[in-house]
């Protein structure tokens, strides 16, 4: 158990983090693009991609909310050991991790009119991630893109809050995609 | 083929080599050692530590040597080094009451427990060039006494006992760190003080002076100015208690300022505070005056529109590393923007000329 906890981090932190960040940044800049990431071996049910994103973006400055789907002692210990990030309630979370059903969307910070950046980024673990289903339009998308989103209405409501709102990273296995608040879904 | 300003790489290498040669100066004159700078240019070293926000006299002396005596350049070297250092934790608040004082004066009382200690000050020197220093500079005989081991109570504590001065209750909150989080306005007093203590001495001095001359005058008395060494302690969670990690010299200035009061509240004096690394009393006094001027809002005073009351103005312009970088960047090439202006002004002049000609014709 203890040994397991110590494992699964990046073998070469600066390099692995730079690769993962490039993937996350590309995904956030190009909603619909699905990127591969590698280097993290977190305990189940965390996906490889979610683990890599955590190792790349989270530290003691980023309170994390764990959805019920991911709130296990193994996950908590692994995150604490590898990132030092504190766990928080929904309202104060900078990042949240969970399945779509496990994240209480309406309660996360959406930023303030003067600081719209002070909003949560939700890392949504999904079983499937593909370029099919919902149509995406907006910044970062040339004409339109397709992404398998869990639903549409919540993202439409979120986009209507712009410039406030939540930003999403979808993780599945070793793949990820992102959906910023600017994307219009239909 | 004509190509402008090619050879940037070679120009930089040559400039660096030339700079190194100039730094050394005439090689028939012995080279300065870092220890000489540390010991004999101590006030320059202090300023570099204070505005560099890094207490390390040897590194500050090295920076001064490398910067050819340009203190802002030396501060820059220290800041750039400081930013790469890992942060192990925060110390507990230093206790200046336990300062081993080299100098301690009060302007508000003729005498007080602990006494007036003049210390090594320029204050009553006549500013006459000492040509003997040019010849040898050997130290004269200095009378020696046993150091005072007692704690020296703060003058303010006597005013506090009578509730004559507004009290500043201690807080357990960890103050935000100006060097780790972006400055957000309005700033807390802790942030303002951090900004002032590392701010440019000349800028803070000028701001403080402006309050004395009437731009948000707050009538400061130096209740106490003390310079000396204090221990720095750090809580070690594994040990459960604080250990000594070193000793630093600081200058602390507390001012008593004009009083506040109303029908319901009896009048009380107010405070300004300055605390700076090293023996840096001009800076510490200036800091206390500017601190007090910036407190107008929390003390319910009027905004007189004075520069020293404007926290955005003071905090955004006090940092000499930011200021010098931005000031000096205008010597970088800007020819693309200038070209754009050139075309615009030619076009505007052409149109204006055409209008004039047309008007004259009509």
């Amino acid at each position: 158990m203890q040994a397991q906890l110590l494992e699964g981090g990046f073998a070469d932190l600066p390099v692995d983090a730079s690769h993962t960040f490039r993937a996350v940044m590309t995904a956030m800049a190009r909603p619909g693009d699905i990127m591969d990431v590698a280097g993290a071996k977190p305990p189940s049910p965390l996906s490889t991609a979610c683990g890599a994103v955590l190792l790349t973006l989270c530290d003691p400055d980023t309170p994390i909310y764990l959805g019920t789907s991911h709130n296990t002692p193994e996950v908590r210990d692994w995150i604490t050991f590898h990132t030092g990030a504190p766990f928080s309630d929904v309202e104060n979370a900078t990042f949240a991790i969970g399945t779509w059903q496990a994240l209480p969307l309406s309660e996360f910070a959406i930023g303030t009119p003067e600081y719209p950046d002070r909003s949560a980024t939700l890392i949504v673990e999904t079983a499937d991630l593909s370029n099919a289903g919902t149509t995406l339009k907006g910044p970062g998308i040339k004409d339109q893109a397709q992404l398998s989103l869990p639903e549409q209405q919540a993202f439409q409501a979120n986009a209507a809050l712009f410039p406030l709102g939540l930003d999403f990273i979808f993780t599945s296995g070793n793949r990820l995609a992102a959906l910023p608040r600017t994307t219009k879904v239909s | 083929m004509y190509v402008a300003v090619k050879g940037g790489e070679r120009a930089i290498d040559n400039a660096h080599a030339w700079l190194a040669e100039e730094r050394r100066g005439d090689t028939s004159v012995p080279e300065l050692t870092v220890a000489q700078i540390r010991e004999q240019m101590a006030l320059a070293v202090n300023r570099v530590m204070a505005e560099g926000s890094l207490y390390d006299p040897d590194l500050a002396a090295l920076a001064i040597k490398q910067a050819r005596g340009d203190l802002i350049e030396a501060i820059f070297l220290i800041r750039a080094y400081r930013t790469t250092l890992p942060r192990f934790g925060g110390s507990t608040a230093i206790d200046t009451e336990n300062m081993s004082c080299d100098r301690r004066i009060s302007a508000t009382f003729k005498d007080a427990p602990g006494g007036q200690v003049l210390g090594p000050t320029f204050d009553y020197t006549h500013r006459l060039l000492d040509f003997k220093l040019a010849a040898d500079g050997e130290a004269t005989d200095v009378p020696v006494d046993t150091p005072n081991q007692d704690t020296t109570p703060h003058i303010m504590s006597f005013l506090d006992q009578e509730q004559l001065i507004q009290s500043e209750p201690a807080g357990d909150d960890t103050p935000p760190d100006l060097t780790r989080t972006p400055l957000e306005l309005p700033a807390t007093r802790a942030l303002r003080l951090q900004s002032l203590t590392r701010g440019d001495e000349g800028f803070i001095l000028g701001m403080a002076y402006s309050t004395q001359r009437g731009y948000a005058r707050n009538h400061a008395f130096v209740a106490e100015l003390r310079i000396g060494t204090v221990p720095v302690e750090m809580e070690i969670p594994e040990l459960g208690f604080a250990i000594d990690v070193g000793e630093i010299t600081v200058t602390e200035c507390e001012t008593v300022n004009q009083f506040q009061g109303s029908k319901t509240q009896p009048p009380q004096f107010t405070r300004g505070y300055g605390l700076v690394f090293g023996m840096t009393e001009r800076k510490a006094i200036s800091m206390a005056l500017v601190d007090r001027a910036l407190r107008w809002k929390e003390l319910g005073e009027d905004n007189l529109g004075a520069p020293a009351q404007d926290e955005e103005f003071v905090l955004y312009h006090s940092d000499n590393i930011q200021a010098t970088g931005f000031l000096e960047h205008i010597k970088l090439p800007h020819y693309v923007d200038f070209q754009s202006e050139l075309e615009l002004i030619r076009k505007l002049r052409c149109e204006a000329q055409a209008n004039l000609t047309q008007e004259a014709a009509e």
């Binding site: 983090a17 960040f21 410039p163 | 930089i12 750039a80 780790r180 400055l183 923007d337 070209q339 209008n355």
Partner: protein, 289 residues
């Protein structure tokens, strides 16, 4: 320099910058505050761009650095060397070979591809700053989408000069929401702000990061009767003959003789290598010697 971390910055600092970049991309044109670090080069000399590049670079990247469009200007050389030393990345002067381009004051003439990232050095990120010096006030104006002051300024230009008197750092509105300073690029470059690549803006001294994702709507502010015009010197490049590139004007003799040449040195040399020759292509060297 090997004692320093990959790309100089420590990992915690990079994480902080990376989070700011992601929020910047999610809110195009909005200035995200970040805790800018003191860099070993002066504020105002590209510390913001350098921090953004350091947070973005991977060891496999090929970096190009330009200042005024040129790779060989001294500050561009200095920054390129910094990353050669601290990140060990490949460097190039060829726009097409670069995966990350750090720039001061220009957008390359060559259209950027989707796999390229353009990092701008920004001196004053706040487009409203010269109209309203207070940060507290300008932040409020952005939050309320209150940009009347900017239109008044542009309108006053027109009534005084008969034209909008802003030649560079020409303000734009991003995705119909935030008014943004595109950094001091000549307004000739403004139309290129809508591109396939990712654009990141770093202002170190002012502690702000902002971004424009690919294919984001970027509109230069103007009026119906005074539409925005991207202008350049009315010449062709004297070296390569290009008519579509932004030109530097050089004074070449005591009589005030002028030569015009591409500000984008890679664009110019690429064209010359392809055999394009401008009006004074070769003879100039003999004359100038």
């Amino acid at each position: 320099m090997s004692d320093y971390n990959f790309a100089y910055l420590d990992e915690q600092t990079k994480r902080m910058i990376r989070r700011a970049i992601l929020k910047g991309l999610a809110i195009p044109g909005y200035q995200v505050p970040f805790a800018s670090r003191e860099m070993p080069m002066p504020y105002g000399w590209g510390t913001g761009g350098v921090q953004v590049s350091a947070a973005v670079l991977t060891p496999e990247d090929t970096l190009k650095v330009i200042d005024q469009g040129a790779d060989d200007t001294t500050n561009a050389v200095s920054i390129r060397r910094f990353f050669e030393k601290t990140a060990g990345v490949q460097v190039t002067e060829a726009t097409t070979d670069a995966s990350v381009i750090q720039t001061r004051h220009r957008i390359p003439e060559q259209d950027l591809r989707a796999d390229q990232i353009l990092v701008y050095q920004v001196p004053i990120p706040e487009p409203l700053r010269f109209l309203e010096p207070s940060e507290v006030e300008t932040r409020k104006m952005h939050s309320l989408e209150e940009y009347g002051l900017m239109h008044v300024k542009l309108y006053e230009d027109i009534s005084q000069h008969g034209d909008i008197a802003t030649a560079y750092a020409y303000p734009v509105k991003v995705e119909g929401r935030y008014v943004m300073d595109p950094s001091p690029i000549p307004k000739f470059d403004n139309p290129k702000l809508e591109m396939a690549g990712i654009q990141l803006f770093g202002a170190g001294r002012e502690q702000r990061i902002y971004a424009i994702p690919p294919y984001t709507q970027v509109v230069s502010l103007d009026f119906d009767d005074y539409p925005f015009q991207a202008s350049k010197a009315d010449h062709a490049c004297d070296l390569c003959g290009a008519k579509d590139s932004y030109l530097d004007e050089l004074i070449v003799d005591d009589q005030g003789g002028r030569v015009f040449m591409c500000s984008d040195t890679d664009y110019c040399s690429t064209r010359r290598a392809q055999g394009h020759v401008g009006a004074q292509g070769s003879p100039i060297q003999e004359d100038a010697a």
